[in-house]
Amino acid sequence: MRYVAPTTVDEARSLLAEHPGSQVFAGATDLVPQIRAGRPAPLVLVDLKRIDRLMTVTHEDGQWRIGAATPASDLTRNSDFTAMFPGLSEGMGLIGSDQIQNRSSLGGNLVNASPAADSVPSMIANAVQAVIATGDGTRTVPVAEIATGPGRTSLADGEFIIEFTVADPPAGTSDAYLRMIPRTEMDIAIVGSAVRLTVDGDIVTDANVVLGAVAPTAVTVPDAVAALIGATINAGLIDDSVMNTLADAASAACNPIDDKRGTVTYRRQVAGVLTRRAAAIAAGRAQNGA
């Protein structure tokens, strides 16, 4: 295995083109354990962390640009970003320990394509776009289109993500992310739920609900969105009937597996519970700009 560290996007492009079977990485917090567990090491490992553009976060004229290799802790420590996207920041803040968060990146978390990736539901809920380096240019797609199944993405050979872009949330908008893990840290999510709400006065005018770890990829829940839009919020509280419909919709959207972390029934039940709780937090934040 050979290690290379390009310093520009073009240099990375040509390296990937030159060496089919090479692999890009940033934190490798998933890649190293997989190699250790027997996954064949790639012929060439392309470290993206020396390309400034992939490591920088900018915020100008209503848009955030986040380098794909930026460590999660850069964002969780960015108070402006966390104020605008508390849920997304929470999602990244839950990816493993401090040691892991100083390396794991939004790009890596997305491209590793684990169904339980903690940052992906919130990225989708906030309509984050991924700017992808293609053979000779770039293309931009919604994050939801990247992961296609456990360990599989829609990226072609030689393609890698340069950065993510997300527009500032409209007024009265906020989000929240909750996940269920047996311990309080260091676990892979058994269930993850991201909710984003936009509130006008005390009426929900826009919503997005995305679940993680309950299907081959993160999954949006249209019925839950429908339940939320038009609902009234008084003093940060959504009334129970909406909450029950919301929870049932989330449970119904689950297509989980039994595995060593959780059972099908457990994931369905808890998906409803976490979605209700995340919606309540998001509502409170959206209404009083918390």
Binding site: R2, Y3, G27, T29, I35, D47, D98, R103, E185, M186
Partner: protein
């Protein structure tokens, strides 16, 4: 497997060494540089016994490829004392019986130092979450948390 020549600073000293590209920084520190303070407890970033600072940031050195260390500034447990004057954390860990077997101690000290460098007055909960990535099986964490709290008090007392 070709070996790459890597230069960086470790505990303030400029060093250079050879390592094959798939060698972890942990193995390079231990086998090439003889710094066996960082330990392998799992090799997959789940136990924290291999924690080091890379350019001031807390990392599991078992997840870092040796070539990534090129030009970086690395601090290991062997480098946190000031000559023979122990770091306050090392002193409170000894006084507070915050270690028994000691295999996790290097990683815990580095993680605690990273915490106090950034947050000089952490609450108990903040300490517990900052150390959640460092597994200890002997102590039940109680005396580790109390020793970090005591070190924070002593560090605040010192004008920095």
């Amino acid at each position: 497997m070709s070996r790459t020549h890597i230069t960086c600073t470790v505990n303030g000293d400029p060093v250079d060494f050879l390592a094959s590209d798939d060698t972890s920084l942990l193995d390079a520190l231990r086998d090439e540089l003889g710094l066996t303070g960082a330990k392998e407890g799992c090799g997959t970033g789940d136990c924290g016994a291999c924690s080091v600072l890379i350019d001031g940031r807390l990392n599991c050195s078992c997840l870092v490829f040796a070539p990534e260390a090129e030009g970086s500034d690395i601090v290991t447990v062997e480098g946190i004392a000031d000559g023979d004057r122990l770091h306050p954390l090392q002193q409170t860990f000894l006084e507070g019986a915050a270690l028994q077997c000691g295999i996790c101690t290097p990683g815990v000290l580095i993680a605690a130092k990273a915490l106090l460098d950034e947050n000089p007055d952490p609450t108990e909960t903040e300490i517990r979450y900052a150390l959640a990535g460092n597994l200890c099986r002997c102590t039940g964490y109680d005396k580790i948390i109390r020793s970090v709290q005591e070190a924070a008090v002593r560090l605040k007392g010192v004008v920095r």
